[in-house]
């Protein structure tokens, strides 16, 4: 039992189960999954579907954070990717041509990856702190996305494009399948090859890994490109789901949610050891939190308060100083999260 509670995914998983279970009191049919027109329907499916963009962004963020970096620009990259795809599709003579949609998707993903190269070069070649280097694209990127859409919301009517975010394959949402494939590929790549260990060593100690002969520069750029690529896919899923490109709403503040998901998943912000499964779990947890507030009927605004409390509790539980203080003198505990007191 103690082994189970000590597993680093135990607490996030427990919170998720608790959260889901609490829904039953408000919506008795919460766990029912029905098959309608060959599609799976149900609140659990909704949670998975709405978690997809966040899970992708969190996946990329995990790799970046593992190298000791951070990427604030992922939300803006999401907006750019969706905007570009919708712009190209909108200009197609036939919006329903599969080839045209594939080209649009390809161009959007290539541009996303190129933006990742930009971030990676700033961080590893010019040597700017990651938080600042990616801040540039976070600010400018949203402007670029608005430039692409000319400040409007571009609506598309393309059926093939809709499949990405709103389609079903064998009853399962296509977006969920895409995320599952990307996550599985990433896990295979980092855990079945030396890549994961290399990334962890760069994050844990850049100096030691340089002395060990690891080429951190190329690795860092790759990680930022991967994160941007994931954000690009997330942007496509998001814009395809609503069949439009909204440069302001797409990926707004998603980077902060993604960092939260990564932290919930047990990856430390200081870099080093990372857990992809943990980050995906964190993303599902955040999505479940959003859906739960709807079912319970609490005003949606309170999710922000929930998140604040979750961040405070998680960070304090990860903070060695806090644990030492609490376990030595238990009286300290109630006074700590100043944030919670004022809530």
């Amino acid at each position: 039992m103690s082994n189970l509670t000590r597993h680093r995914l135990f607490w996030p998983a427990a919170v998720l189960v608790l959260l889901l279970a609490s829904n039953v009191f408000f919506a008795p049919r919460f766990f029912t999954i029905t098959l309608q027109d060959g599609h799976l329907y149900g609140s659990l499916i909704d949670i998975l579907r709405s978690a997809t963009p966040l899970a992708l962004v969190a996946l990329g963020m995990t790799m970046v954070i593992a190298t000791g970096g951070i990427d604030l620009s992922l939300g803006s990259i999401m907006a750019i990717s969706g905007a570009l795809a919708c712009l190209i599709i909108g200009d197609l003579p036939d919006q329903n041509s599969v080839g045209g949609v594939l080209i649009a998707v390809g161009v959007a993903l290539v541009l996303s990856a190129a933006l990742g190269v930009w971030n990676g070069v700033l961080v590893s070649v010019i040597g700017i702190q990651p938080i600042i280097a990616t801040l540039i694209l976070m600010v400018a990127g949203r402007g670029i996305a608005q430039l692409i859409t000319d400040g409007q919301i571009i609506n598309v009517t393309s059926a093939p494009y809709r499949v990405i975010g709103a389609g079903y394959l064998l009853g399962i949402p296509v977006s969920v399948i895409i995320v599952a494939v990307v996550v599985a590929a990433a896990m295979l790549l980092v855990r079945r090859s030396a890549l994961g260990v290399l990334i962890e060593s760069v994050g844990a100690s850049p100096t030691a890994s340089r002395l060990a002969g690891i080429r951190a520069r190329g690795l860092t750029i790759t990680v930022y490109v991967f994160a941007a690529f994931c954000a690009g896919i997330a942007g496509l899923i998001f814009s395809s789901n609503v069949a439009s490109a909204d440069s302001n709403a797409a990926g707004n503040l998603i980077e902060l949610d993604a960092i939260l998901a990564v932290v919930i998943g047990g990856t430390a912000l200081t870099g080093g050891r990372f857990s992809i499964a943990g980050s995906v779990l964190g993303a599902v947890l955040i999505s479940a939190l959003d859906i739960t507030t709807y079912t319970i009927g609490v005003p949606a605004e309170t999710t922000l308060l929930f998140k604040a409390v979750v961040v405070v509790v998680l960070c304090l539980s990860q903070s060695a100083a806090f644990r030492a203080a609490v376990f030595r003198r238990r009286a300290v505990a109630p006074a700590t999260p100043a944030a919670e007191v004022s809530a």
């Binding site: 600010v139 402007g143 400040g151 605004e301 309170t302 308060l305 604040a308 304090l316 903070s319």
Partner: protein
């Protein structure tokens, strides 16, 4: 060490370089900002009619007084090598709480100190969490941001108009220097805050400690400087500045709204960086931040005068400037170390 043991002599020293003795490297970013500002102003004067009106220039301050105050607080935090993401949310919370209390009939004399105290104690709380529990500033202030934004949404999700006589007076009264030339009281408040901040940074023990922590926190600790107290204090200062900025914004908007000041933390950070403060801390001037805010204001003014440019160009230009200044900082710090 060089940066720590020789804190800025005075803010004016940054503007008038002693060319004969060679240019002080620490002044290069500020001078670059000043040059950029002059260039942009010249560009505006040449291209647009009426751009040279004194009022156009003064309006940059009138329209950005709240940002100036918030960015001044942010400068303290960034000088220690930290970051405060909560400022925009605290600004919004301040406007909402002020508007709600005023509408409930509370007198302005009570509301004003109360909201300032609220922001200051939020900053104090975040600083304490950062220092005592070694939580990353980024995460602690992110929690503060969620909390403040969530609280203000919880209080009221709609925009609340303010009709209090004191507030409307502060919003509408102008200090006139001549026909058509005026500033608002908010500008005076903002400039006073900046002057006090600049004095504190340049001439007090607290200011020196701020620079020392940003230069190297471990050395500062070994030197016996009160690192913990100072670190908590800078977040408290930032919390106070955010709530004061919120008050100024509520003067400007005459409303409290939970969606006010969306993304203001980015503007404040951009102003500080463009103003030449180095993001790893330890080097920079509050005067630079003032110039940074003016650059942001100048971009908006030029885009407004141009007319056919859309607002998103502001973001793109700010991004380009951020890039240019960060690379410049990188070059300057590489040469000194």
């Amino acid at each position: 060490m060089i940066d720590i043991s020789a804190p800025p002599q005075s803010e004016t020293a940054a503007v008038t370089p002693r060319r004969r003795r060679g240019l002080d490297r620490r002044h290069i970013p500020v001078l670059a900002t000043l040059g950029l500002l002059a260039f942009m102003y010249g560009l505006g004067v040449v291209n647009y009619d009426n751009f040279s009106d004194t009022q156009v220039f003064l309006n940059i301050f009138v329209d950005n007084a709240f940002l100036l105050v918030v960015a001044a607080g942010m400068t303290f935090v960034i000088l220690t090598g930290g970051i405060d993401l909560s400022v925009g949310a605290v600004v919004a919370l301040t406007t909402v709480v002020a508007a709600t209390l005023l509408n409930a009939g509370w007198p302005a004399v009570v509301v004003l100190p109360l909201v300032l105290l609220m922001g200051t104690s939020m900053g104090l709380g975040m600083g304490a969490v950062i220092h005592y529990f070694k939580v990353e500033p980024f995460i602690a202030t992110l929690a503060g941001m969620f909390l403040a934004r969530g609280l203000s949404l919880l209080i009221n999700r709609n925009s609340i108009p303010i009709t209090d006589p004191f507030w409307t007076a502060m919003a509408q009264d102008r200090i006139r220097f001549g026909p058509g030339i005026f500033i608002s009281y908010s500008v005076v408040i903002a400039l006073v805050v900046v002057l006090i901040g600049a004095y504190v940074l340049a001439y007090t023990r607290f200011g020196r400690t701020v620079y020392a922590i940003g230069g190297n926190a471990d050395s500062a600790l070994l030197m016996g400087l009160p690192v913990g107290r100072t670190r908590i204090a800078v977040y408290t200062v930032s919390g106070f500045c955010s709530s004061l900025g919120g008050v100024l914004l509520s003067f400007y908007m005459l409303s409290g709204y939970s969606l006010h000041a969306q993304g203001m933390e980015l503007d404040a950070i951009a102003a500080v960086v463009i103003g030449g403060t180095i993001l790893t801390g330890g080097s920079g001037y509050l005067l630079g931040t003032v110039l940074g805010v003016m650059v942001l204001g100048m971009i908006q003014t030029i885009i407004a005068f141009q007319g056919d440019l859309s607002s998103w160009w502001t973001k793109i230009v700010i991004g380009i400037l951020l890039f240019a200044f960060i690379v410049l900082q990188r070059l300057v710090t590489r040469r000194t170390t």
